[in-house]
Symmetry: C2
Subunit: 145 residues, 2 copies
Amino acid sequence: MTGPADFDVRQFLPYLLNQAAEASSLEFQKVYKDKYGMLRNEWRVLFHLGIYGQMTASDIGTRAQMHKTKISRAVQRLAERRYLTRTRAEDDRRVEYLALTAMGQKVYQDLKKTAADYDAALVDGMSEKDAATLRSLLERLALRP
Amino acid sequence: MTGPADFDVRQFLPYLLNQAAEASSLEFQKVYKDKYGMLRNEWRVLFHLGIYGQMTASDIGTRAQMHKTKISRAVQRLAERRYLTRTRAEDDRRVEYLALTAMGQKVYQDLKKTAADYDAALVDGMSEKDAATLRSLLERLALRP
DNA sequence: ATGTAATAGTTGTTTTTGTAACTAACAAGC
DNA sequence: GCTTGTTAGTTACAAAAACAACTATTACAT
């Protein structure tokens, strides 16, 4: 039985997850940063709009588990760069519909392709099965309340 | 064959890793933050010293893949709280040996125990085998240059 | 020995984030 | 209709991270 007494903190999941997340984000981060001047939160908002089309800031918050201030600022910057448009809802004037512009779509497609390639490099050497297990467990950990 | 065209960005490893890392860090973060007023980098430095005993800031940097400014500031705060002591090396006066005080050790032991419990909760419901696969793949991703 | 480079660690400045408080619009109960 | 509460989103301020420049010391080559 493995108790707390001989627990190896180097194997602590939050630590391993952070290490892996930081390391694996590094290379891809450079792409959206250097090429498009984007921050991580902006990339997240962008790809959610790319996937789902038009949605509100709250929708994004729910889907991406992002706080509303992060979204608010990311949306501002993306709007400045003309990657998205904001449309006030007519039935509920608190709400704003967000959608990518043509330019935003192009950036999304480009980044998505780069992401696909980079993802392939990351799982290179892993078995299909292990990679699938990894993704599924990560999803599960991410959804944990 | 799965090409970039139909790649689902929601399955992008860096994204999943960041989501899982953020979510899983949350609960534990509160412990070292609220109970000991520590930041993540301080917790990292602390547990490295707890594991390896005396080491230099550079050693920690190598082991934990942390930048030296992060370490420098974390060490400062830990020293202020009397969780560690700094000893100038006699043979090379640029170097400082860091080691936990008795109080630092106690904090480390307490956090380690909490971490062990929390880790157990995280893997609860996973098979032993899957949990092991997860840790091993994370380690591998973390070490990627 | 002496100028050049490298290493250990710190400090200063700028960006980003986190937290809380805020405005505006809507909803519901009485 | 008017108070109370809720939701959408923004803004202000404080905390933290990133990045670059810095000091001090040692190593190395000529």
